[in-house]
Symmetry: C2
């Protein structure tokens, strides 16, 4: 990162106060350039008797049974006009790395089932020594595993690639990925309990939704890091994310992390279901196709500034976003603030967990001219996020799934920010 | 941990299925001891046509604007009969390490203020070169910091110590501690921006609630790891936890992490306010008192089994809980399942972050006899959680704050679990 110069940020005018805030981003303060003003909080003249102007003037409200959001904060899973089988995480409103459970994206093929946890069980059968069925209470008696992982729909980003529009927000562009702390049982523990036969090579996972969603998972993945999870961000899963239990395959396309999991059949070949042939198979240039394209590619997304945001003034701004990869840990994210002519290595202020959303941040001094912001991520496997042209050459024009190329955000001279495609 | 013996867990009888689940906890399966039954999921006879009996029979519901909880999950901040200025995290219903934002405990001295974020500012003045006032938008332009920390009320545990009752749950016993991923600005960054004078040694932090809660914080803590946070678990703070900004002092008693933060005054001596003299000062044996008892001591809490839980049967169970310390990382947690005669080192299945709730787990084979469960935590400073007698000798009978001794849970022969004091 180039060393930023100190800069005074003149704040937007507000009626009651005259003040300026200094944002210090580097190692230096140029004292001579400052015009600090004495704070005059006690001289506010408008609305000084209202609770909103001075909340200390009236007693507050008592605690409720749940700590609800402020009326000034109204994040929603579904942007206006989008309903049904998908709902999307509003990344432009989020901070840090955890996606709140009620803002975790959802994708389902025949609605969210209502499941009584006292009736729900998980059956493991097929090529096993001891077919068994577990209640939730029994699953919770096993050693637990708690890990932070992203889940991303394989179709994430496809809409914005196929039909980009300037008024797409990060929620619309890449809202089908979310990041949670998951708690459950290692699949390897459960498979040891049933005793997998030597001829077994795949496991078919089946949900108890009305689509009876089913996918085949290689045994190697099941024995490596697959989980059966019953908790997300500290509490029971939400129904839209598989309550009471879901499969979790870290780094694999989201539909394979079968929700409302009810059955695991240990087999010696994949199911070759509709979801593994006509769907979730990616046509390539030349008439071939990628089947069993499980692993999600390395990606990044600038979440701020982004549409519908606006830069209030020139000066220092933080370019922030998330990066993730199904191949492991994010090792580096670069940001360009000049449309790709130059790149700056961003900081990763919270470090980087493997197979998890990773925050990046780059402090940028905007000169007030129109420009384009880009980000590109690198992972520990050596993979680098491609440009749209590079992506098209490798994967063609119409795979529909696993779009992963660099995205652009255009900043106009008036500070408005729009989606620039990619 | 002693090597557990394999044990068949006979599940509680259920009307529709005859089956047994094997819980494998160690490295061995004693095949000869097993009585696996073939799964008969397709032969269910009762309620087989209802959606609850088989959710695949009817289409599910569409995604809503938020992913709400299952109707079968109803965690609440306040147990029945407790309202007002405190609300408590239901630890016995939680998993993993993150406390969901709407289940983070709350303690406030004159209610929760309603704050318009567009009007809220943070003023830093006093012994500084450049007194400044920051809007939220300006705070967000600074480099961000994201960290996971617990916050614990200094009064946590006092009620259960002074008046223990068998029907106290972990929520009632130790519900005034919670753990979140916080995002904000390093206080050291803000203090560099205003230019602290050499005579400065304390900072008074003031909230904009109707109590105008104010506490003095040593400059050393402010420069070490203090944050001004605007986000919790990925999104804006909840009003009960300081929306739109709060101070965060990792490891210090919760009331010092001033919520609804509006002013920081850099000074050369502490405020000596009511909250630093008649409150939040701890009488000791012999007529002395601990003042400025900032750091929270090392503690642990078994959350399962606990009241109101019940062990359905003898056999393998996971003893789970949380441990935390204001002095750094948890290095070890011991569990006793025989009232303290012997201790077993628990696993820490999610590792241990400094100054954060840490999960521990111990697999225990219950023989069906009445017994007492205990846990004791160790931290990286070398501190060990004391027994109640050891605590009393050091701190006396009535400090009211900073209770930290070992807690007991009593298991009866019928499997019921009650709070055993401590």
């Amino acid at each position: 990162m180039e060393a930023p110069l100190p800069e005074e940020l003149s704040a937007a005018p507000r009626p009651t106060l005259s003040r300026r805030a200094l944002v210090r981003t580097g190692g230096l303060i140029a004292g001579a350039a400052l015009t600090p003003s004495l704070v005059r909080a006690v001289t506010r003249q408008v609305d000084s008797t209202s609770a909103l102007a001075d909340p200390t003037r009236v007693p507050g409200v008592a605690s409720d049974s749940l700590g609800t959001r402020s009326a000034f904060e109204t994040p929603r899973l579904s942007p206006v006009g989008v309903t049904g089988g998908s709902s999307w995480t509003p990344h432009h409103l989020l901070h840090g790395t955890i996606t709140p459970a009620d803002l975790h994206f959802q994708r389902h093929h025949n609605g969210i089932p209502v499941i009584d946890p006292a009736r729900h069980t998980l059956t493991i059968h097929g090529l096993v020594e001891r077919p068994l069925e577990f209640t939730l209470e029994e699953l919770r008696r096993f050693p637990s595993v708690t890990r932070t992982y992203f889940i991303e729909c394989s179709g994430n980003g496809g809409r914005a690639w196929n039909n980009p529009k300037p008024d797409m927000s990060p929620q619309v562009v890449e809202g089908l990925t979310s990041n949670s702390e998951w708690t459950g049982v290692a699949m390897s523990t459960l498979l040891r309990a049933v005793g997998v036969k030597s001829s077994a090579s795949w496991v078919v996972a089946e949900g108890s939704d009305a689509a009876v969603m089913a996918r085949s998972v290689p045994m190697s993945k099941m024995l490596d890091d697959a989980l059966v999870v019953y908790a997300q961000n500290g509490e029971a899963l939400r129904p839209g994310n598989g309550y009471p239990i879901r499969l979790l395959l870290p780094g694999f396309e989201g539909n394979m992390s079968v929700k409302w999991l009810r059955r695991l059949e240990v087999v010696d070949q994949p199911l070759m279901s509709r979801e593994e042939t006509s769907k979730y198979t990616d046509p390539l240039p030349g008439g071939k196709a990628r089947q069993f394209s499980f692993v999600m590619d390395v990606k990044s997304l600038i979440t701020s500034p982004s549409y519908p945001g606006q830069l209030a003034e020139k000066g220092w701004h933080a370019v922030r976003g998330i990066a993730w990869s199904g191949r492991g840990r994010i090792t580096r994210v670069d940001v360009s603030t000049d449309g790709g002519r130059s790149w700056h290595e961003a900081t990763l202020p919270n470090g980087a967990l493997p197979l998890a959303h990773t925050r990046f941040e780059h402090l940028w001094q905007w000169d007030g001219r129109a420009t384009r912001l880009l980000s590109r991520a690198f992972d520990e496997s050596g993979a680098v996020q491609p440009t749209a042209d590079e992506y098209r050459r490798a994967r063609g024009n119409a795979p529909g799934y696993h779009y992963s190329a660099i995205r652009a955000w255009d900043v106009a001279a008036d500070g408005t920010v729009t989606f620039g495609g990619g």
